[in-house]
Point group: C4
Chain length 237, copies 4
């Protein structure tokens, strides 16, 4: 993929956040990475999703965090995105939103149990939630520290990031990832759908329990990994 194509893909990913109803005002951002060039493209801070042009995306150096392009300031969440790309080489896209259902779970401080196959089709277990940041972590490197606690949470699971491509930041909202920016958006959409269903499941039955490991593995395996048979042979996802 050329740098031009990647810019266009990241623009589309940001626009898709709006179309999918995951963002309000400017609460959220999508990025994509060009590993060969060592560059991440991310939404500029505070710009409306529907007016974003590919050329408006800010190029940020993956190692230094410097934004070379000059004109625009990248999303204030840039250090969180960088931390995730640096730690997980298999990630090609990152999305952050304050989507309403997933953020309600984040505000409650609870992981989202796997109550059904919609969840299992996308996430190989409960959606984890970070610990609270300490007061020190709310300082000058707050956004990098947010990335640190997301990584701590993911590293504490016996799963690869693309097996659990979503983490709730406590009292805040979700970060999702994917093989590329579009895939990270799809995971953000799936997460929001799953968060709404899980809320309603508990409202109907406060004692509801998770599905069996066998059903979870059956569904996750239909769409992911060597035995996947969902979608067309020549494409992903």
């Amino acid at each position: 993929m050329t740098r031009v194509d990647l810019r266009e893909q990241v623009r589309e990913a940001n626009a898709a956040l709006l179309t999918a109803g995951l963002v309000t005002l400017s609460f959220g951002n999508a990025s994509g990475v060009d590993r060969a060039a060592g560059v991440m493209f991310i939404k500029p801070s505070g710009v409306p999703y529907d007016r974003l042009r590919a050329g408006d995306l800010v190029a940020v150096d993956l190692q230094t965090g410097a934004s070379g392009d000059g004109s625009s300031r990248p999303s204030s969440d840039t250090p969180t995105h960088l931390a995730l790309y640096r730690r997980y080489p298999e990630i090609g896209g990152v999305v952050h939103t304050h989507s309403s259902w997933a953020s309600a779970w984040a505000q409650v401080g609870r992981s989202i149990p796997c109550f059904g196959t919609t969840h299992a089709d996308h996430f190989r277990g409960p959606i984890p939630i970070t610990r609270p940041l300490t007061e020190a972590e709310l300082g000058a490197s707050y956004e990098a520290d947010t990335g640190k606690v997301v990584i701590e949470t993911l590293d504490g699971l016996a799963l690869a990031p693309l097996e659990m491509p979503a983490v709730l930041v406590r009292s805040h909202g979700p970060f999702t990832f994917g093989a590329d920016a579009n895939d990270a958006v799809a995971n953000a959409i799936a997460l929001e759908a799953v968060a709404a269903m899980a809320y309603r499941t508990l409202a109907l039955e406060p004692e509801a329990g998770p599905i069996s490991e066998a059903l979870l593995e059956r569904h996750f395996g239909r769409k992911h990994g060597p035995g996947a048979y969902y979608g067309q042979p020549d494409r992903d996802g």
Copy 2:
């Protein structure tokens, strides 16, 4: 109806799932059957609803399950659709979704009580839910076994499939059916509306009970069967 018309009808049915808000990403599919030719047309796996062309639908042999057309892989839920068409000759269309409200009930593992006339206009009693699949049924013939438990559930009722054109697969989501693909979509839409109202009914009054048999029969009979007087004389539904 010619084979060309049926393809177009099934394309429209799949597109209508998106328009009606019943599907997110690619969670769901609609099919229709040509009984004379012994062929079912179904959505290809993982293809977006709004880009689907009539020619993209996959033709599947009703008896053998083989997809003759070559190019695309049919929906991974194909064996469930086939099982339903084989068992119930009066069914002309099948729909599967993970629609949010109906799936919440499926996740809770509870049938949806008939709390009002919106429900009774479409379904002649509570919407049934399947038993859980056994671990053995989660194996290689999982989707066919899903069809088997849907049939088990329907056969356990004293109702014809078009009197109860919806079943919740436990921990998963709904399958609906109809005289044709459009009718199966209409039942999926009605089910989602009914599932939302039933949730809110219980939230307002946890002890809410079902409507009387007399009211249920009055409403179901207005729209279905020999005494129906809803709609125009020259059309269905």
Copy 3:
């Protein structure tokens, strides 16, 4: 207003039910009356809202209930509309829907308390709910009997119909009325908004109580009656 204008107004009213999200499939209908001619215009049964043309509306004789136009069958709820027009000469339009929030209240069998000024701006007290119909009332004159219990309910209040232009039919859904068909639609929209807010009010506080009579009268009086000062002097509502 000419008969042509009235047909067009009733067509718009039916289309507005769809736009406002109050109807799904074909669950609902709007009508308007020409008192001088003694004719009601109503939606034909089972026809999609967005394809309805003014000429499709069915003219029904207010006294005899006969539909003179010939071709289409009027809405199956026609006898309910007729009963309301016959009893209340000040009503010019009637709407019936199965809108989701109002129908949940109808399914619970509870009137909607006046919890705030949005409610008081449109309805001069709690939205009443009918008694259940008896088994005998579920017979051949079911729809006329539905009108009868709506009237019984309204007549039991110390309010004029345009002061309480909405009644919930128990286990069913709302009927609303107005000075004309557009006004009846506006009341159906207001009712649905109020029903949703009241549900959420009780969810946050199960012991929530109604607003004071003084606040209710202040708001209702801003928009209705001799002291109204809402809107422009040359128009209604």
Copy 4:
């Protein structure tokens, strides 16, 4: 900004209330002020949002409350808007809605706790709620008295109006403010999102508590005040 530009901005702000789903029928209004000229522009009463032209806005004298333009009657909430502009010179725009989630909190009579960073990004603490108006305050100067209790509530906080640009009027709905009309609309949108999330937070966990002061200050400070680093250097918000 010229008077023509301000009219256009206030027209857009009113139209945005509809697009954002904050208003139903004609429940709500936006205004903007020209401090130099001492004139407020506000929506005419009862006019649909999507047909409003810039020329339809009513000019109201900030001191006298007289509407000079002649033809249209300003929103019935005009005295509330005037009271806010007179008391707080830093406010350039005011919005009133009956948005569904925020109004449910108003109907319950409870302030909205700060449960997460979406809230903290926009509001520096819980969203306050007014006391009930006394019976005397429901008289001829009801709308001015509504302004008075909003001011009483804001003045009781140790915060500037642009630090807490939203107040819930008890049993009624929200007023929001901003540096200009667009900013007041953005605050109304943020408030509605926050009100929905807070409702869901309490539904999942009735004992949920607010976020720490440190996290609140970190997020509010990212977007507001001297240390803000959100958005582009050359713009607000």
